[in-house]
């Protein structure tokens, strides 16, 4: 019996490792290609053992750093702005819900229903008139729009979980709405904020459509940088893999490190 259970456990562990390997394979394959020569990258049968070369990174590095900076500024900037706008709204909707609160929440979520491509022409014209084309503020503006509903929605669900009695007690002590917000709601929902911020950063980092159409060179983030390597002439799998590796590596490392926060944050609010 004991042996049977141990065997079953070992088998399940093996299965887990196998699924994980399958999920990681495309990435590993891409990382490997980044260190191959172009000829090795599309060799049949595939090459598994090779002497790594670094020249692909040399080709890819050209405009990497400005794009990296733009990605960082746009992702962090939009997350901060979405939080500044979204946290008070989430708090008010959670702690002072009126009859229209649910409607407001649903409406905010529904602003995400329009495919970006459906509004790009009006957006482009507005950006042109406001001189926001190819600027980081312009990009931050759009990413905030994209993430704000998420912030309100997620933070609302965290803040409704804070026991109402805590607010009651504060009120008895004469706390103002502002004090409730800064003194109770914010400190008690930090894990949720971390998780939400993480999702916002990931979505902003990976966004490509607005970036491609609303920036040219000065404000172009990494998602535009990587698009350059999708060529229609010539064979550049290895170079493309190197560029892709450079593009995903920052967010991967960040995600791996912050993964614990994400789990902790998610378990607090939206998912009990």
């Amino acid at each position: 019996m004991q042996a049977q259970i141990r065997l079953r456990n070992a088998l399940l562990t093996l299965v887990t490792y196998l699924i994980a390997a399958a999920f990681l394979f495309p990435l590993v394959w891409m990382f490997m290609a980044a260190f191959k020569t172009e000829a090795q990258a599309f060799a049949t049968p595939p090459v598994f053992v090779f002497t790594p070369v670094l020249e692909n990174f040399g080709h890819a590095l050209g405009s990497y750093f400005p794009a990296l900076r733009n990605s960082l500024v746009a992702a962090v900037g939009s997350t901060v702005l979405a939080f500044i706008l979204g946290l008070p709204a989430a708090f008010a909707l959670a702690v002072y819900p009126t009859r229209r609160a649910q409607g407001v929440l649903t409406w905010m979520l529904s602003t995400k229903f329009m495919p970006a491509v459906g509004v790009i022409v009006p957006l482009f014209l507005i950006f042109r008139n406001l001189h926001l084309l190819d600027t980081l503020p312009g990009l931050i503006l759009m990413y905030t729009t994209m993430n704000l509903p998420l912030v309100v929605w997620m933070m609302h669900s965290y803040m409704t979980e804070i026991p109402y009695a805590i607010y009651e007690a504060a009120k008895v002590d004469g706390a103002s709405v502002g004090q409730e917000f800064f003194g109770i709601a914010l400190p008690l929902s930090t894990p949720g904020m971390a998780a939400t911020a993480l999702l916002c950063l990931i979505f902003a980092w990976n966004e490509v459509f607005f970036a491609l159409n609303l920036t040219n060179s000065d404000a172009a983030p990494l998602s535009v940088f990587i698009s350059q390597f999708k060529t229609s002439e010539g064979l550049f799998w290895a170079q493309m893999s190197a560029a892709a590796t450079l593009t995903v590596l920052p967010v991967l490392i960040f995600g791996w490190i912050a993964q614990r926060q994400l789990v902790r944050g998610l378990s607090f609010g939206a998912v009990k």
């Binding site: 999920f23 970006a116 459906g118 378990s267």
Partner: protein, 304 residues
Amino acid sequence: MTAAATTPATSAPTPRRGLRLSPAALIWPAMLYLILTTQVPFFMTVYYSFFRYNLAIPGSRPFVGFANYQNLLTDPQNLHILWNTVVLAGGTLILTLIIGAALALLLNRDFPGRALLRTLLISSFLIMPVVTAVVWKNMLMNPVFGFFSWVVTGLGGHPVDWLTQYPMASVIAMITWEWTPFAMLILLTGLQSLPDEQLEAARLDGASPWQEFRYVVLPHWTQAIQVVVLMETIALLQVYGEIYGSTSGGPGVATTNLPYFIYQKAFAEYNIGLASAAGVITVILTNVLAAYMLRLLTRAGRGE
């Protein structure tokens, strides 16, 4: 987590005198921001949808009434596109839920390397859709040079041209790869708040693993599943980059969904009028679907 946490605040407290910051004033900045950045472009889109407006033909933009809508609603091919949108989003959603649930259950056990695996497994969620499409299309699914074909021929089969022979399945596989970690994470966090005693009690009662899952785990997961369904539905109905980078909507219209269709109309044909009309229809359909889903989910939630 505590019992009190599950009851959201339902009754509004009485306004106090000397209140500096009214709750409404806290909501308005976010509201105003979203109105300006989403509703203004949206109404411009509605406006354009009544015109024959082609970017490549300047100087002529006649008002055509509902002609663009009529054009869209009478072409039987568009029904196919609508169906593709549903299959793509629905298929991916179901797959991510099943695989995500399996992974969550597997990772909830104690075994060596568990923390590392959990960390590594979220990787595919962090990858840019453009990169996903390019890597899958060229390096994995290419019938001659791709890794999958090498595996299939190695096993004695014929090289498979995934994107032509199984276009929709290929795209779904790609997007499932991206979104499974998300479902896994949410379901895993849901599991971790499940008290061990509940499972032990079930086991003492002689419940089979299936019964354990069906009567203990699944009910506990209701809210986690709701979150996954809602978040993923919104994202999956907007999928565009992965299609653009892999199949370009083909062969034929086999993998063209609504956003990609709009993209084609707007940027391959510069037919902004028609693209706008299609955008408006998408918003209406998504709203109907979301309202229906929200109701279904709240009912399922209340059913517990």
